[in-house]
Subunit: 389 residues, 2 copies
């Protein structure tokens, strides 16, 4: 299903064959949490051209429910999407929503804890995860997660895992990783649909031996692809190390998906270390807050995170498009001044216009990375974007 | 600028020539209050094809301000709109926002009052209207309204008037109407731009002699078109009478615009009585609440107001489009079940998909009315839609 067609050091250019289409990697997929990439229509997506979207099992399980989507012919037909889809396992949402407190996220974990005081909203057992959602109690197990994902019918699905809490200590992380490995076996055993590719998920926090152990275990199980999940440490350097430890253990012939990551800088660093796939709500979410991505030519730097905020007063009468070098429909149609106005006036179009631009930007960035890898110029490209530091 | 090209009894089919394009009447124009038809892009509008939109002087005056829009080359360029635009005078918003109370609208007017206890937010003098907006005090006069509308640069603009309160008594309505006539003269005198067509506004409430007096006065002043504003009484019958009294006094060679009206039934009744133009936020606003317009063939009746609400549980697994006979992008792309889900999930696309459908419906309805008038079948069409009653 996956083939490396170009390589520069550890960075890979690949071809991922799915039921619905081919995906050229490295690739960042837009996220359609509730079967809709927020603000965008099927037509917008057709113009933007992403071959693969990520949908969210947890949210779709609650609304409209897997039975409804199955009855309607599956997720593709339901959302009028002719290309490839991936679904996550729902585990991350159950965990992250469960850990949220009223005052802020992740409030229940004492630092470096091995005996996690779990909030009452989430209970993790060998069988699975119980979560008191706002819609009532939810129970997810490897078997039920896979069952739901089979009903949704995405091209690629994910094994059920525990996304280990970043404040979890070594002992907890080890036990959790070992349980995730057992859940991986159960996910594989539960998975019957032959037209879906099941990806396993590597955990192990920011611990070298645990990451290596997990990578080895998951790689040996017969998944069609490999995802890297969980805590990646506290700093960018931690993340880079986790990636390096993990990549060393992975087979070349399986696509590697880094879950939930997607800033410009992180994508460069991860691709350099051998990652093929990304999913992240960031580009569309920051778009809805007024942040527009810009390339180095348009003033993007590592420091400004390759973006500016269109709501800044400076753009009030600016007749230029977001990025004069960008070919997206937003840049071809609207001035910064108009977009600035749309945000000030809280018009729906504001959120959509910047989502279009940011998705176009991310797809172009990944395609440029791919080209650079194919031509042996990835290092040069990365330097041009991020500088030497 | 306006020519009747077909007539059946009082119903007219006409051609309205504006600076940017021709408009075939009868015609309902989508409203782009803040220089954006809510949820829709320039591309969506280009696909839907309306030749004329209505923008709101009051809202654009506050954000981004007329100077900004003028500096950016006018409203057309600002919002990337290549066809015709109309702006209102701002009078209606100042009045209606001023009359609003915390508990509900129009709370300050004792019934049939001739000495209106105006809320402190609005003060009407011979010079104009003072309004304490949430953005600070706003003063609008005929001269300032026309000045702002010249800066915005729409193809058609409206004289500054007082939209008489529906609870105002005869004496107040008469005085207000006479003042509106004086404001009409001042609006004409203030208007310098030769490439804009200035429409006068008829007031006079639900009083026959006042409506006739106003219609005669406004018709004699040399406006390029005539709008009917203000209170139209308490019932549909009142509205029909007001229209009949007024139409009798109007010249044939000027377009007649009924301000702020736009239900299916009202459009039929008004077109039958000689109205050519409508503007109304209704079709897009009800779309954002889940109401989808349907023709009689799809089950639309006078009783159900030619619409159903997609959020009803009945649509949860309905694989049909909103209207199987509709050619809009929403009906060509999405099932009722998916649209139902989008509303339940509060996805942005929900509001947009129904706005597209409802605008397509309204444009098609008006075009069908035009065709019916041209072929002498308007009465037959009206009966098929509204029944005999």
């Amino acid at each position: 299903m996956f083939k490396v067609v170009g390589q520069q050091d550890k960075a890979r250019a690949g071809i991922l064959q799915t039921k619905h289409c081919i995906i050229h990697t490295p690739y960042w997929m837009p996220v359609a949490t509730k079967a809709s990439v927020k603000t965008l229509s099927a037509e917008d997506l057709s113009t933007l051209g992403p071959p693969l979207l990520m949908c969210n099992t947890y949210h779709l399980m609650l609304q409209p429910g897997p039975e409804v989507i199955e009855k309607l012919g599956g997720l593709h037909k339901f959302m009028s999407w002719p290309k490839a889809l991936m679904t996550d396992s729902g585990g991350f949402q159950v965990m992250s929503l469960g850990y949220e407190t009223k005052k802020g996220k992740l409030g229940f974990f004492p630092s470096e804890s091995n005996e996690l005081e779990l909030p009452s909203k989430v209970k993790i057992t060998e069988n699975g995860v119980k979560f008191n959602s706002i819609h009532g109690p939810v129970m997810l197990t490897p078997e039920s997660s896979i069952g739901i994902q089979e009903k949704l019918g995405a091209d690629m699905i994910l094994a059920f895992d525990e996304c280990t809490h970043p404040q979890a200590g070594r002992e907890y992380t080890k036990n959790s990783m070992e349980r995730t490995n057992r859940w991986a076996e159960r996910s594989l055993a539960a998975h019957k649909r032959k037209d879906q590719a099941l990806f396993g998920i590597i955990q192990g926090g920011a611990y070298k031996d645990l990451r290596k152990e997990s990578a080895e275990a998951i790689s040996s199980m017969g998944f069609k692809g490999i995802a890297i999940g969980g805590s990646l440490g506290n700093t960018k350097k931690d993340m880079h190390k986790v990636l390096e430890w993990t990549m060393d253990e992975l087979p070349d012939d399986k696509a590697r998906h880094m879950l939930g990551i997607g800033t410009v800088e992180d994508c460069f660093e991860a691709v350099e270390r051998g990652i093929d796939l990304f999913d992240c709500v960031g580009p569309t979410r920051i778009g809805r807050s007024g942040y527009a991505y810009i390339s180095p030519k348009a003033g993007g730097t590592k420091k400004n995170k390759f973006r500016f905020n269109i709501t800044r007063a400076a753009f009030r009468t600016d007749t230029e498009p977001i990025d004069p070098g960008c070919g997206c429909l937003t840049c071809k149609t609207y001035s910064r001044a108009y977009l600035h106005h749309l945000f000030k006036a809280k018009e729906y179009l504001a959120y959509r216009a910047l989502s279009v631009h940011n998705i176009h930007f991310m797809l172009g960035l990944m395609e440029d990375m791919r080209q650079a890898i194919m031509h042996g110029e990835f290092g040069k490209m990365k330097k041009a974007w991020l500088g030497r530091g």
